[in-house]
């Protein structure tokens, strides 16, 4: 187990390195640079700025210098667009995204997993159809519809809620629902599928035949195996949720990091994008590792792979 985690962390560092390199050359392949959109800038001033941020050198030297700076000084560089240190930008924006993501995840699990379990146990009854119908709505209706809908129908009617803003915990509720509904639907469907798969197996039938109470069969025998597809999904989904959603952050005006991803790409703000990608990659590596460990805990047959 310890060896497994150690190996995975080493592999994770390799993943981050490949990711960094890949992203660097991807963004370099784009036409334009960080100052293309600044029309007012004279060519001389631009040249000076390019020099200041080291953007005038050949790609491979820029890449080498960046990597050196990152590894030796743990420095992500300065965003030429925002004229601030990338690490500072990320530090200020990630708490909001993490809080939003955690709440969205909570919404997703609290709604999704019970719905999936109920509909699997009551397969092909109205409970099943109603839960899956609800899940389908969660999948079909995108954030940019649920968000404004919640704003107009809930926030504008109930004084406790604000249409936008991020000042106290009450403000977390509506964005979390907006962001969490789609993963809730995913979880419901995946849990249902996983549960049905396990419910059809011999050991469950044996347990039922022995006269084990239905509730125990579900909680003790079925749920562990039935949750595996959901857990496999939750690893990357969690990383996605807490790294910020551009749409939800825009709708509710949340100072998170989702918009930096998009802004940095559009602005060719290389250091900022690489910083965001590294952060996201780090989350993916860690959370996929956690997800794999939980899967092995849930299903003893997977433990050989550890």
């Amino acid at each position: 187990m310890i060896g497994f985690i150690f190996r995975r962390i080493l592999q994770g560092l390799l993943v981050l390195f490949v990711l960094y390199t890949l992203s660097f050359f991807l963004i370099k392949a784009l036409p334009g640079d960080a100052f293309t959109t600044e029309k007012a800038m004279s060519p001389e001033a631009k040249e000076e700025q390019m020099k200041r941020f080291g953007l005038d050198k050949p790609w491979r030297i820029q890449y080498g210098l960046r990597l050196q700076r990152l590894l030796l000084q743990q420095d992500l560089g300065i965003s030429p667009k925002k004229n601030r240190k990338v690490s500072l930008i990320l530090q200020q924006s990630f708490p909001a995204s993490v809080v939003l993501g955690l709440n969205a995840l909570l919404v997703a699990c609290v709604i999704g997993i019970p719905l999936g379990v109920f509909s699997a146990v009551r397969k092909n009854t109205w409970v099943d159809y109603a839960s899956m119908g609800f899940a389908m709505i969660g999948i079909c209706v995108a954030a940019f519809i649920i968000g404004p809908l919640l704003q107009t129908q809930v926030a504008m009617r109930l004084p406790a809620f604000k249409v936008a803003g991020w000042d106290n915990p009450v403000d977390w509720i509506l964005p979390a629902i907006t962001l969490g509904l789609a993963p809730a639907a995913y979880l419901a469907r995946l849990t249902r599928g996983g549960m049905l798969e396990v419910l059809g197996q011999d050991f469950v039938r044996t347990a039922q035949a022995k006269g084990v109470p239905a509730l125990t069969v579900i909680t003790r025998h079925t749920l562990r195996g039935g949750l595996i597809p959901s857990v496999a999904y939750l690893g990357p989904a969690f990383a996605y949720l807490i790294s910020g959603s551009f749409v939800v952050e825009t709708i509710f005006q949340i100072p998170g990091m989702g918009r930096h991803f998009i802004d940095a790409t559009i602005d060719r703000d290389e250091d900022l994008l690489l910083g965001c990608v590294l952060y996201y990659g780090f989350l993916i590596v860690i959370l996929n590792l956690v997800s794999d460990i939980i899967q092995a805990y849930l299903n003893p047959r997977l433990r050989d792979s550890l």
């Binding site: 999948i139 079909c140 107009t152 789609a182 599928g193 690893g235 749409v247 790409t265 996929n288």
Partner: protein, 319 residues
């Protein structure tokens, strides 16, 4: 038992059994028919509904079933007086293609990749899954933006060339070239989660008795994988894929929300729903009608997926 019979009996393949079982499932059959009708509507009937981009500002928000001059607007018109039915059907082309591509990519790449990784195990598995992690960490929207910038120029050149030399339909070709970056991004990233899900299934399945039996019988790895193990993973895989399709269709709409998706005046279901949401209070039909086509397709997909899941379940009793 089911496995030995598939090996010895002729003509009783997994797919034949599945097909026989699927045909008995009324809901799944109806769903299949609905999907076929939807495809025909969008890819055939659409051409008979007139120009989806023709504006008539004098006839904005026309009611369902009204007509202006000698053109009938079966589903009314939108905020620019464009025929809504025509827009929905042409928009459906984009959305259905996105769905189709997402499914095929997820299925072909995701399942084989995850299965091979899980079955082989060891170092190969580690390398393959870390490659998946790397791709995961590239945010989907960022990749689409990157691809858009890098290839959209050459894509439209190719489209122009195809129109000129091969008499491809002008508008459709350019519209498809327009969303090519999205298709490519789906191709690059659409299969990742399915690969992870399939891998963990395979890891568990290869420990089970029937798999051990197949291994000790000396069957070739590809036969064990494709005949014995993968059929057992198809259930969750289909469930997941029926989930991916709508999310990719909505991704496409999210891109338009950011001003990066399909370019106006062209549309897709996601774009129509997004635009309709602006008129939610005053003209609900603009949201409801495209939404109805979208949800109908999704529900049909969903029920067909469930039917397929049941039909493909190797543990289900044979008739």
């Amino acid at each position: 038992m089911a496995d030995t019979s598939t090996v010895t009996e002729k003509g009783s393949s997994l797919w034949r059994d599945a097909w026989l079982r699927l045909r008995k499932n009324k809901v799944a059959v109806v769903s299949g028919v609905v999907l076929i009708v939807m495809f025909l509507l969008c890819f055939v009937a659409a051409w008979f509904t007139g120009d989806p981009n023709e504006q008539n500002l004098a006839n904005k928000f026309a009611a369902v079933g009204s007509s202006s001059g000698n053109t009938l607007h079966l589903l009314g018109t939108d905020q620019m007086g464009r025929d809504l039915l025509s827009r929905i059907l042409f928009g459906g082309q984009v959305s259905l293609l996105v769905g189709l591509i997402a499914t095929s990519v997820a299925f072909v790449i995701g399942i084989s990749y995850g299965a091979i990784s899980g079955y082989t195990g060891g170092r190969t598995d580690a390398i393959m899954m870390r490659a998946v992690d790397t791709l995961y960490a590239i945010p989907f929207l960022v990749l689409v933006i990157l691809l858009q910038e890098v290839i959209s120029g050459s894509a439209s050149e190719v489209a122009t060339w195809l129109v000129k030399h091969w008499k491809f339909p002008d508008e459709t070709t350019h519209r498809l070239a327009n969303i090519l970056p999205l298709f490519m991004a789906i191709g690059a990233l659409g299969w990742l989660t399915l690969a992870r899900i399939t891998r963990s299934q395979i890891l568990s399945l290869k420990q089970q008795e029937f798999a051990q039996a197949a291994i000790s019988l000396g069957l070739s790895p590809s036969r064990i994988l494709f005949r014995h193990l993968i059929p057992n993973t198809l259930g969750p895989a289909i469930v997941y894929v029926t989930l991916t399709i709508p999310s990719f269709i909505m991704y496409e709409a999210t891109l338009s929300f950011l001003g990066l998706g399909i370019k106006a005046p062209n549309s897709s279901w996601g774009v129509l729903i997004k635009d309709g949401a602006n008129y939610m209070e005053t003209q609900p039909m603009l949201l409801i009608l495209p939404g109805l086509f979208f949800t109908t397709t999704l529900f049909a997909l969903n029920f067909l997926g469930d039917g397929l899941r049941d039909a493909l379940d190797p543990k289900a009793a044979k008739d």
